[in-house]
Symmetry: C2
Subunit: 134 residues, 2 copies
């Protein structure tokens, strides 16, 4: 059975890492994709950058389908809806550290180190140290 | 200012992804490292594999320093303590999907896609779409 996309899990992890380090999380969004809802006035070349720090937006919800929150643009409240497939990057404003995604249907991202080692893990199922059920 | 290690954030993300997909999360631990506490009887070649699924262990806490939980081995309860630096891999038993780490002092892992693109993100700070404070 194929695994679900790991992108939302990585996005939540990276967001928390950036915020815990007192940096400002920015997302780069492909605004041309269906179901994206962002203030069109700020879209440039089909893309928009949004500050989704806790002090910039309200009601932030990074679920397995989309990033949803409320922000203010030019004094007006707007609900932002960014499907995972439209997310191009999540990074810290201060130093650019973070993640970059290929857009389109969200695919499986490479977990760190997994590219070269997954064969080894698959080939050697563990036989020792398995905890019995409590 | 350097960012803190992102390894704990990735570990929590990968763990949740594996469990949400109804797979069993296994960790591979370098049992030779200082501060590691695991049942020594099950250590082979300095390593141990542990099942840390919700049904196998209790009180699981994946914090920024270590994986801590209680497991049963041969009928006896043991507290497991695995510092992030001693974690060699986290993967699904069923298909080997997950992460592999180099051991030793936890370093910064590569976020997906960041290897080739971080320069681009650093070079172009966003100028549009910044939300004002609510």
């Amino acid at each position: 059975m194929p695994m679900t996309s790991n992108r939302p899990y990585l996005v939540r992890a990276c967001y928390e890492w950036i915020v815990d380090n007192h940096c400002i999380p920015y997302i780069l969004v492909d605004a041309s994709q269906q179901a994206v809802s962002v203030p069109s006035h700020y879209v440039k070349n089909g893309q928009i950058v949004l500050n989704i720090s806790p002090s910039a937006v309200k009601m932030l919800d990074i679920n397995n389908e989309a990033i949803v929150c409320e922000g203010r643009f030019g004094g007006k409240v707007a609900t932002l809806f960014v499907p995972m497939a439209a997310l191009m990057a999540l990074y810290a404003k201060e130093n650019g550290q973070g993640m970059v995604f290929s857009t389109g249907q969200p695919q499986q991202e490479q977990w760190p180190g997994s590219r070269h080692e997954s064969a080894r893990l698959s080939a050697k199922p563990p036989r020792a140290g398995k905890s019995s059920k409590p």
